[in-house]
Amino acid sequence: MQKIQNHSNTRSQTFDMVLSAMLIALVFVATVFLNIKLPITANGGLVHLGTAMLFITSILFGPKKGAIAGAIGMGLFDLISGWTLWAPFTLVARGLQGYVVGKIAWSKGRNGSSITFNLFATILSVPVMLVGYYICEGILFHNWIVPVASIPGNIVQNVVGIVVAIPVCAVLKKVSFFK
């Protein structure tokens, strides 16, 4: 089996598109299927790894794919699991989050290889996502207190996401495909 293929060097458009599709699917699968049980948090303590997957995607493949995978992958989850109404908000909040992570982690040609910047990027993206959801839910509930309720849960999710994503990226960056 030969690794070097023409199209993976030139990174053709088709490949880019298909890879984005796979990343969407990965974010979705991680959201639905991959859970870590935490001793804390209210909702049974299950935290999904969707956010972690979003971070990894953005760090490995940059802002554009990160935004697409986060927005559509998690939006799809809302659509399928009865949170349909939230899908448009997710599209915006997670899209922005993915974009911010990718943009910072890929700034000045770093391409996600600086662990410090990756960490910085993920932490900075958390308020972006929180504000995004906060504004959307605020409009929905016609109230600025109700949406506060979802903030702690979101923070836990993001913290787990960061704790998981940073080491995984450090390993993945050494794999020849993702350099």
Partner: protein, 286 residues
């Protein structure tokens, strides 16, 4: 270490509307040191059964004995880790489980999870890499820079490094070329003999079952429908047909020759050499 399944049933998505039974009342005893083959079509329950051998799945009904451990349906099993160290599973396409930076680290991953020291794990890796037919330089490479066949060997070494007493093989040669297939199967067989392992081969290859197994169990639609030595199983091709299975090529060929000679040979032959001997003898004796 004996493995014993008693009245084991397994349902996926238990307790939901999608509940679906994949195993029904399976009884199977695999005494220590046996080479057991489990044969069946895709969807016959083979891969569900194999996950019971080290507690990856717990039976929905019935019980599983693994050595002196007992896993009973409905009861919470604590600490399955010791079982998993003793029962190593080589899954289909095991190369998909590689993840470490170097081959060495990946082989050491399993044993170190079970508390083996780094020095010992490293020594095992150095021994095993040669056993699976790769050079020692491979240890420092990234597993993702190897060819598919080499990755397979590294993954196998990673399971062997845990030094299990029971080794479960799920289609270990799928997708390899004929030489690769033969080498891998022969390697497992000699390990089985040398280290007195219990080997469980889950396969749809009748040929491999005939060649290596002491015992064969046939799975069909979630049930264990037939069990016996290869000669017993292959003597009755009618019953096999019922389960849409064909006896191995060599056995079918023997049947043709027997029709030609108009007399049966003295035994069912499991390898080509055996058949050639038998035919030669039958002809000499006229």
């Amino acid at each position: 270490m004996d493995i014993k399944l008693q009245q084991v049933s397994y349902a996926y998505s238990m307790g939901t509307p999608f509940e679906k039974y994949a195993l029904f009342d399976v009884d199977l005893t695999i005494p220590h040191g046996t080479y057991q083959a489990i044969i069946g079509h895709t969807g016959s329950g083979k891969s569900t059964i194999l996950q019971h051998f080290n507690g990856l799945l717990k039976p929905s009904k019935g019980q599983v004995h693994i050595g002196d451990r007992l896993i009973v349906a409905g009861k919470k099993a604590k600490e399955l880790k010791p079982i998993r160290q003793k029962v190593g599973i080589v899954f289909q396409f095991p190369e998909h489980q590689l993840f470490e930076e170097t081959v060495l680290k990946d082989i050491m991953f399993g044993p170190m999870n079970f508390g083996v020291s780094a020095e010992v794990a490293q020594k095992r890796a150095r021994d095993l890499i040669k056993l699976v037919g790769l050079s020692e330089e491979t240890l420092d490479k990234s597993p993702f820079d190897l060819s598919g066949g080499q990755m397979r060997r590294v993954a196998i070494a990673g399971v062997l490094a845990m030094e299990p007493e029971v080794i479960v093989l799920d289609e270990p040669t799928a997708g390899l070329d004929p030489r690769g297939q033969r080498e891998i199967m022969d390697m497992f067989y000699s390990l089985h003999k040398e280290r007195q392992l219990t080997t469980i081969l889950v396969t749809h290859s009748m040929e491999d079952a005939a060649r290596y197994a002491d015992n064969i169990a046939i799975m069909h639609e979630g049930k264990c429908v037939l069990s016996g030595t290869p000669r017993e199983i292959f003597a009755d091709s009618k019953t096999l047909e019922q389960y849409r299975l064909e006896p191995p090529h060599i056995v079918r060929f023997q049947a043709k020759i027997e029709r030609l000679m108009n007399q049966p040979l003295s035994r069912i032959c499991l390898t080509e050499e055996e058949l050639a001997d038998e035919v030669a003898r039958a002809l000499r004796e006229g």
